[in-house]
Symmetry: C3
């Protein structure tokens, strides 16, 4: 027997400054768009209707921002997280232009940080991943850090480099889509009357609705993004239950947040995020949001709102941490992002 299969990279296979071109470019289109609507209760009008998107200055309805993220992220899995013990965090995520039907996406990652853990068996790798389209233009980028196993515990530790990352992007860091214009935004078609001015910093919104998760759904979603990490698919590998891809929880929670945040149309920044507890089939995902910040933009009719999106499996609303400062066991996700809203 030969070993032509990908064993994945181990901690000592990463060097600072190394750029990894990820494999398997992907053309997206009408099929991915429909599947996104079948897998998540997605109702944001800009991603549902070409006509609505055109009325907002875009050429047509783009692929959901999170779907673009999943495609870019999925390509990195064989190179970054195949031997990962834990997905530790995200930062400085920026959507740089919308993805349209017919676009072909690819990803590459630069290693921007390395730190061996004191136990000598694992280390933390920071990468900045960029997704580009067929014209070579960046469509999004984000930093992610993971804990990775060492192949050989005795391999020497690299010099420690911990990148300085912004706690949150400032509104000036965000890139708004060219041509976007919410001046004649149709609130009736969008589904809710609440505009940027109606949201207050500190406000908490219970999104009320819930979805009980099924195995077939999360596997279809995860495969669609060509994320092939074993833990999501192979019950002989994880007899205690297939672990649901964290991105499935993100998309589910974001779609549920339509109810109360129907006008938080576009995601343009990802400040941070934690997959607080694992999610399994049978869990019922619910979500609540907190308004963290608000900012004006120079794009006509468009305001930015910084939101915290918390997904739970117990329906608890309003706080995610216990008295010990740790995540409550019912919390699945704690995400911090910037969205665009009509003024």
């Amino acid at each position: 027997m030969t070993t032509k299969t990908n064993p994945g990279r181990f901690f000592e296979d990463y060097q600072l400054g190394q750029v990894i071109a990820h494999a398997v470019p992907r053309t997206v289109g009408a099929g991915e768009r429909a599947l996104y609507h079948a897998l998540y209760p997605a109702r944001h009008a800009l991603y549902s209707s070409d006509e609505f998107a055109r009325a907002c200055g875009l050429p047509e309805s783009p692929l959901d921002d999170l779907a673009a993220f999943h495609v870019v992220f999925g390509k990195t899995v064989p190179d970054i997280s195949l031997n990962a013990v834990a997905n530790l965090g995200y930062a400085e995520g920026r959507w740089l232009q919308p993805v349209y039907a017919g676009d072909t996406l690819r990803s590459s990652s630069e290693v921007i940080g390395l730190k061996q853990n004191s136990n000598g068996n694992t280390g933390v790798v920071w990468v900045r991943t960029t997704g580009t389209n067929q014209r070579g233009e960046a469509v999004m980028e984000y930093v992610r850090w993971v804990m990775v196993r060492k192949r050989d515990a005795d391999a020497p530790a690299p010099a420690t480099t911990v990148p300085e990352l912004k706690k949150a992007l400032a509104v000036e860091d965000l890139t708004l889509p060219e041509g976007l214009d919410f001046s004649s935004y149709d609130f009736t078609l969008a589904g809710e009357p609440h505009r940027w001015g109606d949201y207050q910093v500190g406000e908490v919104i219970d999104h009320v609705d819930g979805v009980t998760i099924e195995e077939a759904e999360h596997m279809m979603a995860t495969r669609l993004w060509q994320n092939t990490a074993k833990v999501h698919f192979d019950l002989t590998f994880r007899p205690e239950g297939r672990l649901i891809y964290g991105g499935h929880v993100i998309s589910m929670a974001r779609a549920l947040s339509f109810n109360g945040l129907a006008n938080a149309q576009m995601i343009v920044g990802l400040n941070g995020g934690a997959h607080a507890n694992p999610c399994f089939a049978g869990d019922t995902i619910k979500a609540w949001s907190e308004v963290l910040d608000k900012a004006e933009t120079t794009t006509p009719g468009v305001g930015a709102v910084r939101l915290r999106l918390v997904a739970t499996k117990d329906g608890h609303v309003g706080h995610a941490h216990g008295e010990d400062g740790k995540y409550l066991p019912g919390v699945l996700l704690d995400l911090d992002y910037w969205a665009l809203m009509p003024l």
Copy 2:
């Protein structure tokens, strides 16, 4: 915590003559079409092959008529049936033109009837819903009535208005697609030799095949139509089992009816329908049809046939009611529609 989420309308929120523009327009395309074929055993050739559709005078294969119905219907849920206790009936449903890939659909409903129930806690609301495309042309319309909770039992009852609805559309009420022509219809490609003249009023057809329903499938279907009623998704809301969207049963039964009614290609009228008993995952849907009426049309080569489509979960064929006049417990659906067939 703030309440920006949609609480749904209560009985006293409806006024006679009120027109409600439903939110979230939706562009449909190649993805919705493929998903429809993945979710249902749909084989009617006109909806499967662009070439077959062209040979019948249409520009290309339209979206399945029931998919068009589901999209139009789905948009009404947040405004009409979020607080509904029961979906009581349909009438005067007419498909006015086919929906093609790239079309963007929206819906609006006019309140055409109101009647408070004697218990004072609920009332019946009749609405006529119209789906329109991006050119503002109506693609379908139907009347539906639901029983809705009152917010406040002490709120005064509105004047009772019960609309006069046709028991069944006459063939003159039907709109046949422009250009349609079954003169050179290919029965071999369509899958069955039986033409309009081969069906007799009173004839009963057992469609034989069955599909055992899974949770992931009905949820994907229901989300695809952006119908987000809680009862279909949230097992903590309905621990006794997620209720399957009635439209899923309609589409499943119609697709199964291919076997014996392969040439009942287009649905153009919905005379009435009852969701006789709830459907749950694990049920095996089978179907039988009865020919209720036949009529000639002025469209070349096209006859109309009025069909009763009964879906069951026990495989019983031929009658749907017990001796007490009530639906048998194994009956899921009793639908009355007009379809177009080659002469």
Copy 3:
């Protein structure tokens, strides 16, 4: 009650030389492509990226070769295998040109062999099936033989004709897509560095990954190809468990084989195949391959490799038969095919 439903053909309904035009042509497109990626962990770059396909001389990314096979095969089910007791084998399968979005496929089969079994109750039927596109051009063909029930055991046996079939296609029998050129093949984007020259006849590759199968997935896949054989859908018909369509196992195993055979891009020949044991929901499919043969081609940069693809439900690698010469109980599939690889 009338009998307009399709009872399927019985053994005595087939005559040597008979050509059966199968019903329900199908237009494929962006939706089928996305669904294929959602249902299988498919990552071969030529089928994932229009840009990659163009760099290989094709106009765009074709529909997966196995999806084309499933569509062509699905149409034959109502005429060939509705009353089949067993699917006995495949031979001389050739992909003749890629299928692109917008193509409409149909199928026809010629009866090329008949042999009544000694028990008098069943017989074997050999058919050569051809799939053609909207221009009437053949896109693929294959021979398949099935054991079919007789309607009437006393019906006379036809003259026995057993077609002479090649054990395996020679490389000269294969049709390579017009324009294909792997001269500037991008191994980094494709995901693995192993080229044609790196594979040795006799080499065995363990594809490592596994997928635990769910009911909703295999039913969606099987319906997508309009294969409506009862055994796959109706739990009241098969209370012991819905039988998974053999083609679902083929596609799953082929997609898993990416890990180690990422550059075996196109399938151009099917030499044979056996569905060794039935597959049910809950089984975890894994796969291994063996290199059976290699051949040069006259297409620039392209080599052919003959592969044996074995799917298992027990993860056993390296041999498929027991000491008794029979398939081991954990083996699901034993497939023999030709694929194209960059030199």
